[in-house]
Structure formats: structure tokens, C-alpha cells
Amino acid sequence: MDRLKQKELELIAGRCRRNVLRMIEAGHHGHMGGALSCIDIVTYLYFRGMKIDPRNPEWEERDRFLLSAGHKCMAQYAVLAEKGYFAKEVLDTYGSLHSYIPGHPDMHKLAGIEANTGALGHGLSIATGMALGLKDSGKNARVYVVMGDGELAEGSNWEAAAAAAHHHADNLIVFVDFNGLQISGRVQDVMNMTPISEKFRAFGWNVQDIDGNNMREIEAALKMTVSDNHNKPSAIIAHTVKAKGISFAENKAQYHFWTPKQGELEAAVREIEDNIQRLEKEVQKLCQN
């Protein structure tokens, strides 16, 4: 990935972060921490990684994206809006009656949502079924999943992990959003599921560890899942920063679910918008060169 492409993607991710804050402004609260830790991955997938058509969300040949950790849905809504799946004004309905973008995603309300996740430990099974179904229907489509790290304590995930490997679902790619924090504190203190990589490897998966807030590393890891998958599903353990992009909230478990205190939202908006402006200038400069 050249530097211009990298900065362009970072800029889009910045705008998506702003979209998340727009939803918080509307709904007055939300699962912000995890949304911002995985949003670079979600941005990359929709803007570069996946075979999709926003004008035809039901296109049969499309790659599928599932947010197993459904509470991070503001990340997906933010990216879908930025990609043109729906008008950005819809973001202002977050938290309101009959909103198309509820606090956990609903496939029957919003085009682009593939599954009704939210209860943790469901997404990987659904994705495994999709991946096997697509393969056996002769479709060359892939299924991408973002899971939480705290979510890995749900036993049902490991049923799916075994099934995906056993049935050679090599079109299944999982990102574990390993920000290290869940609602009660550090994942390692609440229920230590580390080492995560070794667990997936032992279940028969390809595994890579990357910086999940780095576009270049996300791209490189995804290339490996195509070129070097050994007929196995792939797990990308994405080391991320919870609430990435809002410095006062970064790496703090209390921002898992955020009801902004006085001045917090304004400070967050300022920081995200400053970052967008900085990236716009960088992109402009790189374009001129």
C-alpha cells in the first residue's frame, strides 16, 4: 500500500469516527470504546478489502461482513453511511424510536447488515454456516467477521472454530478486536483467554498477529489469507486500542459504554475533527507530489 492510499484510508476512518460521535450526539450514549477500536478494520474492509456493491446490497456474489460483537455496531453504521449505503441523516436517529440503526444491528431494518448479532458468541457460527453455504454453492465470496476479545469466553465460539476448520472454511476470515478491555476491566483479569493466537492455531486455523489500527498491517494480513491459507479459515488477532482516536478515553474500560460527561463530547469532536483536517492536508500534499 502506498502512502497516499494509507492516508486516504486513515482519513476515511477519521470521518467514520466523526460519524460515531454524531450518533452519540443523537442518542446521548453508546458502545463507543469497541466501536473505535475496530473501526479501522471495518473501514479497510468496506473501502478496500471486500467485494461489495453499496447500490446492490443483496448482490449474491458479495463478500459478507458480520459484527459478532454486535454492540460495536456504531462502527459499522458509521462506515456504511460513509460508503453510501444510507443517508448520513439516518445517523441522527441513533437511540430514537423505530430507528433503522438500533443499539445492536438488525438485518431487517438496514441494508448491509447480514445478521442480528448482539448476544455474544453467535456471530462465528452464523459466519461459518455462510462460508460453508457459499463455498458449496460454488460462490467465490468470502465472509469477514469482527469479534470482541471478551466475547471469546463464550463457549459457542469454540464450537464454531472447530467446525470451520474441520470443514475447511478457507473463505472465512475472523478479526479478533483485541483491545484487551471489557466492561469490567482487563480481559486477562476478568477471564484470561490468552494466548488467543495459540488457541485458534490449535483449532486448525491460520493465525496472524497485527496492529489492528494500522491500515498497512490490515492489508498485508488479508493478502496472506488469500495467498497462504492452506485450505483453513483465518484468524487475525488485531491488537487495537480501545476508544482509539479520543485520547482522554483511550485504553480505559469505563469508555466501553459511554454516556459523555459535560465537555467530553465537545473535546472528542474537536480532537477527531482536528485529526480529519490534518489528514486532509496530508492527502492533499501527497496528491500534489
Partner: protein
Amino acid sequence: MSELRDPRKTFGAAVAEVAEKDKRIVVLSADSGGSSGFKQFAADHPDRYYEFGIMEQGVTGIASGMATVGKIPVFCAIAPFVTCRSYEMFRNDLGYMKQNVKIVGRNGGFTYSDLGATHHSLEDFAIMRMVPGAVVLCPQDPGEIRQAVRAMLAHDGPVYMRIGNPPIPELFPEQPFEIGKGRVLREGDDLTIISTGTCTKEVLEAAEMLSEKGLDVRVIGMPTIAPIDVDIIRKAAKETKRIVTVEEHYVHGGLGSAVAEVVTEYCPVPVKMIGVPRVYAVTGPYNELLHYYGLDAEGILKTVSEFAAKQHS
């Protein structure tokens, strides 16, 4: 009495027959396919038969995913393991997502009699009928199993069907199955017995004995628990003034409750529910359990006679 047939083999053969024409149908197994009547299907269609081992939660979610790409998954295993254990997957991944998946609980009720309460399923109607949009079926004889399989596979949406284990006789001529409809198996005006599943055989015997005693009993076979047939219940309440329900299920939450919900709202008449009290059932031979809980013809005769007498006094 006709020849007895294995409900599981009847079920598996019926699915295989439809699947010959409809290639979207796939069979999922949690180490359970062979005992669910799918041995032949697995041999004939290895590309449409998926073995996952013992993971009912995982398989239910996987079935949901397969349905999103146009497959029609059929997943059959021991009833409590595809209802209680994986309930949230049924509720969210199938019900909430409106997926075209068929979950079949075999060895339902306490047909796994001596294996004990872990293997009994006496609350499946209650919990499965609470899922919005879910269809809950419990066919009464082999012909109805065959027809219910066709109806369930033609229906677009999540279905739970319960079948038993012991061989069962044909009770009535086979006819097309309409989801959500009960049918009158015996006319009568003194009292109505509404029954589901294999209990209907005992009910028909009891009705015959009641008739000899001068009680003219209407028998309604109700193979669909959800959506319940409101019209046939209202008509029976209006015309016979008393209703008894019979099911191999807890007296709470199942067919009896579904009938009582209709009766209390539209046509209040006395209702007596015959079923298993809310306990972990005793173990032993199946027929002895039926007798113990008053679910054989003799027990039904006794309870209905007492109920009818009480209503007259």
C-alpha cells in the same frame, strides 16, 4: 390397529423424498443424523449432509448462516438439546433473523423414559412457541409426520417439530397438512378433548370408552401448537361448553396453555389440562410413565370422567 412405524425413520425418509427434488435442502447432524433417520440420506447425498459432532448451539447458528445463502437446513437431534440448550440460537439466529431452518426434536416428551430427565423434553412447546414467528409442530401418526415434513419444508421460516421414538400406528388416512390447522377426528357435543402428538391415540381410545358411558366426546387433533387454530377452539368451546387438553408435556406452557389463552380471551368455558406436573419426571418403561402420569387411555378416561361429573354437579 395398523402396522407400527418408527417415527424417526418415517421423518428421515420424508425429508429425503422432498430433498430429491429440492436441492436447497441440506441435513445437519450433531452426531445425531444416523439416529434421526438420515442414514440413507447421508449415503445418497454426502454433499448435502454435514456432520458437526456434538455441538447443538454451533449447529443452530451454522444452520442460520447456511439459510442466508439460500439453503434449507434440517437439523434433528434429541429434543432437549435442540430446544433448551440452543434456545438463544433458535430465538436470535433463526427467529429474530426469520431464517428458513427446520429444527426437529426427536425422542421428544419422555419417550427416552428410562434415560431420565436430562433426556426428557417436557417444556419444548412452551419455550419454542414463545419465539415470534416460529411454527411449532407435533404430528400424531406416521402419515401426519410425512405430510407435516412436506408442509414444514414448503413453509418459509423457522419451524420446530417434535417427534417421538417408539413405533406408532397410523391413526387416520393420510391427507395434506396445513400448518396452523387442527382437525376434528371424532364428532361429539358433550365435551371436547384437544390433543397433540402421539397422545391422540390414547385420547381416541378414551373417547370410545367415554362414549360407551354415555359421554359424547369431540376429539380434535392439534398437530400445530403455534400458531394455534383459534377458530376450531372457539367453535368447540361454543358448541361443547367444556374442553380438556392432553399432551406429553408439562401442564404449563404447552398445548393446554395455548388453548386456554384462546378460551379465556374469546369464549370462556372450563378447561382441564392433562399433562405432566412440573417435576423432573420419574424413569422407567415408556408405557409405565404414560400410565403413571395419567396419559394413557385409562388415565385420560378417569380424568375426563371426573371433570365431566364435576361440571354437572
